[in-house]
Structure formats: structure tokens, C-alpha cells
Symmetry: C2
Subunit: 114 residues, 2 copies
DNA sequence: ACACCATATACGGTTTTGCATATATATGAT
DNA sequence: ATCATATATATGCAAAACCGTATATGGTGT
């Protein structure tokens, strides 16, 4: 993946917020991101699919839920860039983080998630 | 400047190469970048204007030439991201750096530059 | 089987982006 | 003043990016 492709992936508000939240929490499912960003589910899903296709995220199905994390083979410099951005742009993410925290823990095997 | 705006600026092959070359050489003029990237002058100029408008570059006129450098007030984390990218993507830039080096020194006050 | 929840994809439309080409402006040299 | 060089901008067009809505897929529980 060339660097300009990498940065294309970060060049959208929705995708960047998803990536930074995942960087912070290691792993999040689609419905958590949908809630945290207060966006429609198809919109989130589409962006996550794009990030997966670009090799930036990997997904893991667990029951009904699909969890996304940074792709294990993402180059270190890319992870480093994401972490640097996260460290310096917490304010920009604050509302989304608050929203995540007030949702209560991870989705349970039974019952609804979001 | 929000981070997604910053990354939009890096999300193009031409712009990113300009930025990384400027990160490496501190200051370059339009004709040097035009030669190094082997692109048309209006194309380079347009992208540099965009980066200037976005607050990522600043320009300085010296005679016929306009030199661009990273904007003095660019946040440190942004500079850090650029430097990290440069350090890890030298190969991607190799041809452009070689082209710059073989052009002979900086444009002189007399004579043509490129 | 059916209903429900989570996720993915398809379709159609609007907006944005990038480009090539032509032209304008500014500086310097003769 | 004229010409050459360097840079900037304008125009028109094609391609790409995003979005909302509708619908499809897949898993869970009854």
C-alpha cells in the first residue's frame, strides 16, 4: 500500500473517527461505531468495508456481531501515525468517546447491542 | 484545521510527494518540484496553492521564484506525521529525490532554474 | 419455520476532485 | 519596450467519492 493510498483512507471524517476509536479501544463492532458516531449503519459499514479492502482493518465475526481491529500486518509507521493523531486529537473525538462510554459495556451474547 | 482536513491534503500522490520533498529539503521552489515529480507546472502550482490555502505550506517570493516550506505554525503532530512518513517511505520517493539531486544546486539569481 | 437483530451490498443521484489546456501576471535581462 | 522565465489562475470535462434509501445476507432465539 502506497502512502497516498493510506492517507486517502484517513481523508474522511467518518473513516478517521472509526480508525481513531478502534486505535483507542483495540476492537469495536459496527453497531458500537454506528452509535458512537451517530451515523446510519450502512454508512459506517460501507466505510469499514473500504478500510478492510485497503488492508487497514481486519474483521472477526462473533455471533451476530462483526468486530473490527487494526489489521495485524499494518506497517508500524502507519500505526504510529494513527496513535500520534489520536494522542493529539482527543478533543476532536471527545463526543464520540463519551457516547461510547455511556453505552454500557460490550454487546452481550444475548439481548440487543445498540 | 481538523485532522480529516489535514489528511485530505496528504491524500493525493502529487501533493504527498511535494510535502515529503519539502519536509526533506526544508524549502523548494515550484520549478524544482515540477522537475522532481516530472509533472506539468500548472498541476504542481495548483496543488501547492491548495496546500497553502489549507495552512500546511507557506510561500516566500525571491525574485522570479516562489519557495514553499512547511508552514511555521503547522502543529507539531502534523510535522511529526510527515517526518515519520518520510523516514519510512524513502523508497517511494527515491526517483524524485534522485531527479532533484541531478538537477544541480538551487536556482541562481541569474540564468534559468529548470 | 418464523421473527428479529446485526451487517453488507446495490442503486441512483449529487458533490467533489483532479486534469489538460489555455491564458494571465510578475520578475529579470537585453 | 520586448522577450524569456517562473508562477498563478480560469475553464470545461471526466472520474471518483459520498450519501440516502432500499434490500439482501447471515446468525440467534422461539
Amino acid at each position: 500500500m502506497t502512502p497516498d493510498h493510506f492517507y486517502k483512507s484517513l481523508a474522511d471524517d467518518t473513516r478517521l473517527r472509526c480508525l481513531l476509536l478502534i486505535t483507542q479501544y483495540q476492537e469495536l463492532c459496527v453497531c458500537e461505531l454506528t452509535e458512537a458516531l451517530n451515523e446510519t449503519q450502512p454508512k459506517i459499514s460501507r466505510h469499514l468495508a473500504q478500510l478492510r479492502k485497503n488492508g487497514i482493518l481486519s474483521d472477526r465475526r462473533q455471533g451476530q456481531w462483526v468486530f473490527y481491529q487494526l489489521h495485524p500486518e499494518l506497517p508500524n509507521w502507519s500505526k504510529h501515525v494513527l496513535q500520534t493523531t489520536l494522542d493529539n486529537q482527543i478533543l476532536w473525538l471527545k463526543n464520540n468517546i463519551d457516547q461510547l462510554e455511556t453505552m454500557g459495556g460490550r454487546p452481550q451474547r444475548t439481548g440487543s447491542c445498540c
